[in-house]
Structures are given as structure tokens and as C-alpha cells.
């Protein structure tokens, strides 16, 4: 991994309604490229991202570009340059596409041209309510919201979940494009997408980090993939 990480997570634990969902997780995210968080279903990948962002109750140290952010409320963490693409998109269904995007704009000159070029479909649907969009289009809105600002890190949670193959390819390409300007911490079950995008990987099992290393190092080793993820490379974890 890179010598100067953008994010350092140390002994991070998190609970939801008193239930431990993340247990003493430690890892680093390099300042360039995409780092995948891998693991079987229900091991705490999404909770780890939500804990980093302060969306659930957490303990431990989270350092963003040298600054501890673990005691900050979520909106302050985001204002420090953390974009978030949640699992299940979480677009505001009653708001239009334009309103969804406008809400996400934090800086004086948001990168609208970049986002419009990446998702031309959304330009045509600016006045359509986000709740009436297809799953793929909603995912575009969700990713676009995170790309409108000059973030220092993106947290992206299962961006291809439930999408048609063509849309998966489009979202994958958008993330590849985005990763040229901002590092990404990516939770993804589709190992083909991970193989296409991620340089590094963190594997979580039982709420703990059990392996870190290069993504290809894991995915190219069938025995390791099966042991850590319970599936063979090429399948969904």
C-alpha cells in the first residue's frame, strides 16, 4: 500500500442498537486508486463504511489526511471531503434528479460538466422525480451526488447491486473515471467488478480484518479466495 494513506482506521468498533457489528477493525486506504472491502454477506462491510462516516455509533480512531474525524458528526466529516454512495442508492424519491444533485453540491463551483458527461441520461431526466427512475438511473444519481464535489475520499457501497449487466459496466466505468481524481473505498460483492477496478483489498470476516493486500493477489489465488470469501473468483462474494 501507499506510504501516505488518505484514511487510517485503527481499532474501529461499531454497534447498531447495542449489537456489535464491527469489531476492532484496522486498515488503511492509499491516497490513490480503489481499495476494495471484501467479505461474505453480513460480516460488517457496510457497517464499516457507515462507522467511518459516523452514521452509526462507533469507537476507535479514524484519521482522514492526518486529521482525526472519529468524534465529528457525519455532516462535518463529509464537509472535510468525504463523498458517500450508500448501499441501495438512497436517492430522495420525492425530489427531482436536479434537486437530488443540487442538495449534494457543497462547493461554489460543483463539477456539473464532469457529472453531465459521465451520466448524460441524467441531464435529460433533470425534472423527473428520482423515485420514478430505474434502479440503474437511481444509482447514477447516487454516484453523481458524490462526484459533484472535489472530495478527498469516496466511500462507495455496493454500487452494482441489483443492476443489469449493461448498467454494471456503465457504473464500473464511471468509478474508474472517478478514481483518476479521488481515492475510493469500495464495498463490492461482484468480484469481476473488483478485479476491474481495485488495486488493494481489505477482507473482513466476523467484524474483523482478516487479510489485506493487493486485490489481484487475492482474486488470482483460488484457494485464498475460497477461504476468505467462500466463493471462487469470478462469482459474487
Amino acid at each position: 500500500m501507499s506510504a501516505e494513506p488518505i484514511l487510517e482506521v485503527t481499532d474501529l468498533s461499531a454497534t447498531i442498537a447495542g449489537q456489535q457489528v464491527v469489531e476492532s477493525v484496522s486498515f488503511q486506504v492509499p491516497s490513490t486508486g480503489i481499495t476494495a472491502v471484501l467479505g461474505r454477506n453480513g460480516v460488517g462491510k457496510t457497517s464499516t463504511l457507515r462507522a467511518v462516516l459516523g452514521l452509526i455509533h462507533r469507537r476507535g480512531s479514524v484519521v482522514l489526511a492526518g486529521e482525526r474525524i472519529d468524534s465529528l458528526p457525519t455532516h462535518r466529516i463529509v464537509q472535510r471531503g468525504v463523498g458517500y454512495v450508500p448501499e441501495d442508492r438512497e436517492v430522495f424519491a420525492g425530489l427531482t434528479v436536479a434537486e437530488n444533485l443540487a442538495l449534494a453540491e457543497r462547493q461554489r463551483n460543483p463539477r456539473r460538466d464532469f457529472v453531465d458527461a459521465l451520466f448524460p441520461d441524467l441531464v435529460q431526466r433533470r425534472d423527473q422525480r428520482a423515485g420514478t427512475l430505474s434502479g440503474g438511473q437511481q444509482q447514477m444519481v447516487s454516484v453523481a451526488r458524490a462526484l459533484l464535489n472535489d472530495n478527498r475520499l469516496l466511500l462507495v457501497d455496493e454500487p452494482t447491486k441489483g443492476l443489469a449487466p449493461m448498467i454494471v459496466a456503465q457504473v464500473t466505468e464511471a468509478l474508474r473515471e472517478a478514481s483518476t481524481v479521488v481515492p475510493i473505498l469500495l464495498v463490492e460483492q461482484n468480484l469481476e467488478v473488483v478485479r476491474a477496478l481495485a488495486a488493494d483489498a481489505v477482507v473482513i470476516a466476523g467484524g474483523r480484518v482478516v487479510h489485506t493486500g493487493s486485490a489481484r493477489g487475492i482474486l488470482d489465488d483460488p484457494a485464498l479466495t475460497t477461504r476468505l470469501l467462500g466463493v471462487s473468483a469470478g462469482a459474487r462474494a
Partner: protein, 291 residues
């Protein structure tokens, strides 16, 4: 025919009053998940201060009437804002405690108002036109109902414009859907809590002054009486839905008036039955988000 017209129009007028109180309740619950039992106190204080303003300027003049409305809206907004900042905000995310503190405030406020303005109702006579009637299809409609309807329509339009055309409005609409996601976009959603309280307080303030003029008296219990029906309207319309509150206000009040007219004064009973039916058949209310 004339009885039906009278029932319908006075029902809509009463619904307008319910809406003025319920709109704030609904917005506050939708965004913050707080059932605000102190809402009646905002209304009552606005009515008392509005009465004093009208007294100073002449209760029978339109100037006094309009000034009492404006001051009432301001008093409601300020009282609500202070309530949010001082009592609600320190209890962020502790919904039970937030509800309890509003219950406490509602009791304390009534006691305080009785201490200041006395326990007896104070009579007030507004502009003479309000006490008159206007003939419609053979029915004589008390003019005060026109004022209530116009005020509620103006408040509804203002709220819709605010929610549709301003960034705070957008944040509030988004926050009603998914508050956590609003914060995950870097927005301090707590600021909009104060805005919502202020708006709700202003609408309740207008409702309080108009209720005072409609009933021609003000007392420390003015708010608590109206609050019960406003809560019913909010639940029937769907907690958090402004449109639901508007529709339910009219439905509840027309039904109440119709039952009072045609079913021997059983309006309040019928409204409670309606509430029970809605809770059993459609717990999310007419236009509320399904759980």
C-alpha cells in the same frame, strides 16, 4: 339545501383552522419525529399577544386585526424557535424525552398564561364585518369562515412555495424522506429543525389569532382544545405529509360539522371514530409514507 351549503362551507372554514395548527405539527414530526405537544402553547401565546396588540390599536379596526395577525405569527415563530433551541436540541435523537419536554412545556405554559391573563376567558370583538354573514345559495355563511379559509390557503401556498423553491425547503423535503442521507451529503440537518419549528410556530400563531377572532374570546386553554383536533388531522392525513394535513383538515372538519348538523351534535365522537378507523385500516394515514 341551504343547511348542506352552510355545513360544507363552515366545515371547510373549521378545517382551515385545523390546518393552520396541523401544518406545523406535521412538518415537525415528518422531519424530526417529535410529536410536539407544546404546539398549542405557541398558539395560545400568539392569541394573547395578538389580543393585546388589537386592544392597543382598536379591536374593531382592520388595522388592529391585521397587526394582531402579524404579531401573532411572529410571536409563534419566536416561541417555537426558542423551544427548539433551548429544549428540543439538547435532547437530539432522544425522541421520548423530546416528547415529554413538550408535554411539560404545554402544562407549564397554560399555568403561566393563567397567571398572567387570568383563568377566565377574555372576550374580544373584531371588525364588525367578521360578525356578519354572506348569503350563498340560500345559506347565511358567517364571514369569519371566509377569513379562515383565505388565511389557510395563503399559508398553504406560502409553505408549498417555501418547500419547492428554497434550499431549506428542499432540505426539509429530503429530510422527511431520509434524514441520515441528508447529513451524509454534508448538510447540518439540525439547522432545518429550527426553521421547521419557526414556520410551524408562525402558522400556529396565525391560527391562534384567527381562532380568537372566530370564537370571539381568548383563554389559556385555547391551544389545548385545538391541539387535540390538530393531532387527529395530522394522524389521519399521514404524519409528515403537508398535503395529507390539508386534505385531512377538510375531511375531518366537514365530517365533524355534518355530524353536528345531521347526527345530533355527535361531531367530536364521529371524528374520534374516524381516527380509530384510519389507525386500524391505514395506520400511515391518508397520504403518509407506509412503514
Amino acid at each position: 339545501m341551504s343547511t348542506l351549503v352552510l355545513t360544507l362551507i363552515t366545515g371547510v372554514g373549521l378545517g382551515a383552522l385545523y390546518f393552520l395548527v396541523a401544518s406545523g405539527l406535521s412538518l415537525i414530526y415528518g422531519l424530526m419525529h417529535v410529536l410536539n405537544f407544546a404546539h398549542g402553547a405557541f398558539l395560545t401565546l400568539s392569541a394573547f399577544v395578538g389580543w393585546q396588540v388589537a386592544q392597543a390599536l382598536g379591536t374593531e379596526t382592520w388595522g388592529g386585526f391585521l397587526a394582531s395577525l402579524l404579531v401573532g405569527a411572529g410571536v409563534g415563530a419566536v416561541f417555537a424557535t426558542l423551544t427548539e433551541l433551548v429544549l428540543i436540541r439538547p435532547l437530539y435523537e432522544r425522541h421520548i424525552e423530546q416528547v415529554l419536554v413538550t408535554v411539560g412545556l404545554s402544562f407549564a405554559a397554560v399555568a403561566l398564561f393563567e397567571g398572567i391573563w387570568g383563568t377566565d376567558a377574555i372576550n374580544i370583538s373584531g371588525p364588525p364585518w367578521l360578525a356578519g354573514t354572506t348569503p350563498v345559495l340560500g345559506a347565511s355563511i358567517p364571514n369569519k369562515y371566509w377569513v379562515l379559509i383565505i388565511a389557510a390557503v395563503l399559508v398553504l401556498l406560502a409553505l408549498v412555495l417555501f418547500l419547492r423553491k428554497t434550499r431549506y425547503g428542499m432540505i426539509i423535503r429530503a429530510g422527511v424522506e431520509n434524514r441520515a442521507m441528508v447529513t451524509a451529503l454534508g448538510i447540518d440537518v439540525r439547522r432545518s429543525f429550527t426553521v421547521v419549528f419557526a414556520i410551524g410556530g408562525a402558522a400556529a400563531g396565525i391560527g391562534g389569532v384567527l381562532a380568537m377572532h372566530a370564537q370571539t374570546f381568548v383563554s389559556a386553554h385555547l391551544g389545548s382544545t385545538l391541539l387535540i383536533f390538530a393531532f387527529i388531522v395530522t394522524v389521519v392525513g399521514g404524519l409528515g405529509s403537508l398535503t395529507g394535513a390539508a386534505v385531512a383538515s377538510v375531511v375531518v372538519a366537514v365530517l365533524q360539522q355534518a355530524a353536528n348538523t345531521y347526527l345530533q351534535g355527535t361531531g367530536d365522537f364521529i371524528v374520534v371514530i374516524l381516527l380509530a378507523v384510519v389507525l386500524l385500516v391505514r395506520p400511515s394515514g391518508l397520504l403518509g409514507k407506509r412503514a
